[in-house]
Symmetry: C2
Subunit: 466 residues, 2 copies
Amino acid sequence: MSNPSIDKLIEGILKECTPTSEEEINLHAMANKVKNKLESCVSEYKLGSKIKEIVFGGSFAKGTWLKNEADIDIFIKFKNEVDYGPFEDYGKLIGMQALKEYSPYLRYADHPYVEAYVDGVKFNIVPCFDVSFGDWKSAADRSPFHTSYVISNLNQEKKNQVRVLKKFLKSLKIYGAEISIEGFSGYVCEVLILKFGSFLSTIKFFSTYSNDNSVIGITKSDHEQEKHKRIFDSFLVILDPIDENRNLGSAISSRSVATLIQSSRKFLANPGNNYFREEPISRPNNDLKDLLSSFILVIEFKYSDRPSDVIWGQLKKMTRSICKFVESYGFRILKYQCNVHEKEKVCVIALLYESLTISKLSFKIGPEIFRLHDVEKFIEINDGSPLKWLDNDSRTRCLLFREFTNAKDYLEFVLTNKPDLIGIPRGLKNDFFRSFKIYTLDQNPSLDEHIKNTVSELLYTDGRVF
Amino acid sequence: MSNPSIDKLIEGILKECTPTSEEEINLHAMANKVKNKLESCVSEYKLGSKIKEIVFGGSFAKGTWLKNEADIDIFIKFKNEVDYGPFEDYGKLIGMQALKEYSPYLRYADHPYVEAYVDGVKFNIVPCFDVSFGDWKSAADRSPFHTSYVISNLNQEKKNQVRVLKKFLKSLKIYGAEISIEGFSGYVCEVLILKFGSFLSTIKFFSTYSNDNSVIGITKSDHEQEKHKRIFDSFLVILDPIDENRNLGSAISSRSVATLIQSSRKFLANPGNNYFREEPISRPNNDLKDLLSSFILVIEFKYSDRPSDVIWGQLKKMTRSICKFVESYGFRILKYQCNVHEKEKVCVIALLYESLTISKLSFKIGPEIFRLHDVEKFIEINDGSPLKWLDNDSRTRCLLFREFTNAKDYLEFVLTNKPDLIGIPRGLKNDFFRSFKIYTLDQNPSLDEHIKNTVSELLYTDGRVF
């Protein structure tokens, strides 16, 4: 069933995100220039015996980058017999030396790599090992296999469909495997288009996605899918076509998947350009912010430099720990938003509470009446409770009085006096305790811009999803 | 393993609750006198052709009544062929006429019966049908079979053990099958002693009672118990020895069972006379009452006369409905107590809230993301929500503002404007809406005695259980 208006819309988006041949020619020229520099550097340092070859990778090599948004990945393939130490050292050396005129700098993923802007285009110079399939020695070794697979299987038309899909996901902030996003990687987009043929088919698939068809595999039969569903315990299972024992979906959060499902439905019902625009999150109307300011607690702290995925991972973990901890005391967090402001090196956690004050009264529920010793222990522990009773479910209940009823007081007390009760990642502890601030939104009317942004995200409803 | 101090204690209690031979002789004389009056009345009204016989029943017939606390049950056994209308009418007539000099009055269980005090002893004159086993026509027909069974199987020593058990249960307020108690009936006590042999063995059994040994049957093997456990879905299964397809435990609340379990443990650890005394529930110390008075909501209303089991059943049902209803709005009831004050014809419900005020904020959780139409409907219904988001579990959440944040205001509003939302039993509606009052305890410092009693029960911790 073809829908002329949706087809026309996609046609327009296709044009927007497909690079011109001029862009392609320019990029290839630049890419070759940088590759030549790297190869010269290898010769200069007499590293030829350690290095198998230098190859292009990523969306540039596969021809699926978004118009005017290309990054160029270049892989330095070290021979298998090179040890890990020299691999890292020479990897850094080659990248830094070859691009020295472009102010290169080091970045860290699983291992260090070099980044530099050459004539406005970002280059990533990534060392990897030249290994046989499966004998991975570094996290980057699988990448060239993905690149070859996509190059061999994706024709020009499908490459452009990948671009439309990326644009759609990017607009919804669910494009990218990085921990800050936990969304759909470029490779996942390519696999989806290989599976479903087009952007529209992919969107249609997700609009009716259910638990029953949750395994996406290019070659496997439905029968075998059942098996994979049982093996991979994740919300969405996407089998890696070069290794069907690997689930590309495990890095995608269920929230990202749900966002794709729900926005696919809405897009099909009401297609529009807005699904392909990256608009900044608008500030919520001030009414809502004012209404909720006495329900929002902000925690901010400075952190020392570290890779983006590391700080995001630590911050997300810490935020979940804090929520769990305060909820176990009786507070209720309705929604939270955490954010790393990399420029300012500030982490912000904004928590929307059901209420910043809770009752003085609380209660505990004991074990099943049958469990003699546990019941005894429960009664002993709660000896001070002024009211104990058996409820209709036959469990013992104890009335207790809370020491703290204010969310800020409670969190401040615990962080100051019993910080180990909250699971703060070890690598963040020093930074956190040196610099943390806690305040409610209504206490602090003049907020820094990056705090305002986090609060805006907290109070944002994406009209394209709901 | 014998414990001399516990044996001595039970010996003492045995003496306290076993009637003297003087009491026995007196009761038998009185019982025969009343029975003769009933028989004369049958002759006088020429009802001999309708009536098979007049027999004693209940604890008096079985010899298990508590010293100085005997009620005497007399059953008028109508012949099977008598219709239900005449059965009721003649039943009432005989009782009322025969005992007219003792100010008899009607009471209602499943069918009407006559009650009167003769020389300080309560007599219940209950009509039943003379049926074959199993062909029950009225709820009282099974009783004579129970009586015969107990008389044939319970020796004098065990009768006295039944008395000790009754005393123990009565002291803990879990003796009696009436709906106000939902406890252990006299017949259940007899069956337990037949099963376990003595009070102490019964208590020991319950002190280690668990889900695995939850079927109590006198004759059945353990193998068959499994079957019964599956058939009877109740906390405690006690097979009726005269009909093992019947579960005597179904009328016993799990709270009553749990009370027996827990107090058995405590009694064995620390035996004392206090487990056999019926002390009135002491007023909680005023500190606790003062501390909690701003957390307690009282609902009271007058009711028109009806049988005790009827009003108790209605009140308990209504109390559960109210709790469920206010909890679904976001309030939390920690504990409740309801009470029928039969003298004043007043029902009282006392609710201990976690807090009488709740947050303005609330939220709703939508269906699973896969359920396309349900999600759509959910979003449509909550269109007015100012904040919608997908949470980590992939469900849609909506922020909502509550109209009411005060427990009393909310309940008053609903009861006045939308009473049908709360499940008030039909038979109570008129009485309730004509007379209900709602107030918080701290609003109303000068409480009637019966309200004070209900609040005392609400705030009572039984030291023999915890």
